[in-house]
Symmetry: C2
Subunit: 113 residues, 2 copies
DNA sequence: CGCATTTTTGGCCATTTTGCCAATAAACCG
DNA sequence: CGGTTTATTGGCAAAATGGCCAAAAATGCG
């Protein structure tokens, strides 16, 4: 894995990394409905405002969300419709994982007895 | 964010978290072509075998890859076709990010002088 | 069986991440 | 302007992650 490959990988991994934290994923799921301001997200998650602000900063730097200021409040929204597809894809992955977990419990011949 | 929501989020975040590391993302990109064994991936990435093995373990626990043993060698492959879609989605996200970065540099009137 | 090959696991340390508090910044209101 | 609300930044301690080495499994081969 050379320097060029790493440079190509880094921003792509950053997108997944940003989504790879429960609070941040919750934010993205929430923004799927409609834009929200920091204080609303803070309320919903139940953490310190500064914590949420930093999570939003991670999401923004990765390119996952956009922000727009209106007075003193800042609204965040998803940067790309394609995020819905990504979120849905995890459902397929988890469904398949559940199936194969089941299959290995059941054994090759489906006999549970 | 209550316990139920956290339980729902955790496995989904784990999928993204697994993809959110350059080496692991490289592995997934590589497996997109065809299955590979640990030693091949080790060679391609240039890290210790144990490091790669642990990365693969993370991907496997998240449900991203499957493994099958053949003799002493273990082959890994993608668990879901939907991963291609996820990887492609990052391209859209990064493209949009590049565009908006450009727009903000250019300013509201597109005058760069 | 004894040995080689491939992979996984355990242990350790350096680095990164996370989350809180405090302080600062930005914008509105009276 | 001074005070209030909303958000961001800095700093710190605790927790998690990543990577290497060494050791242990697991499998095939002579």
């Amino acid at each position: 894995m050379n320097t060029n490959q790493e440079a190509w990988l880094a921003p792509r991994a950053a997108v997944f990394k940003a989504l790879g934290h429960p609070s941040r994923l919750f934010i993205v799921e929430t923004l799927r409905q409609k834009p929200h301001c920091v204080c609303e997200l803070t309320e919903l998650i139940g953490a310190d405002t500064s914590t949420i602000s930093k999570h939003l900063s991670v999401l923004k730097n990765a390119g996952v969300v956009h922000s727009s200021k209106s007075g003193t409040t800042v609204y965040y929204r998803l940067a790309c419709d394609c995020l819905s597809g990504m979120l849905d894809a995890t459902e397929s992955i988890l469904r398949k994982r559940a199936e194969s977990a089941n299959a290995s419990l059941t054994g090759s011949f489906g006999a549970t007895r």
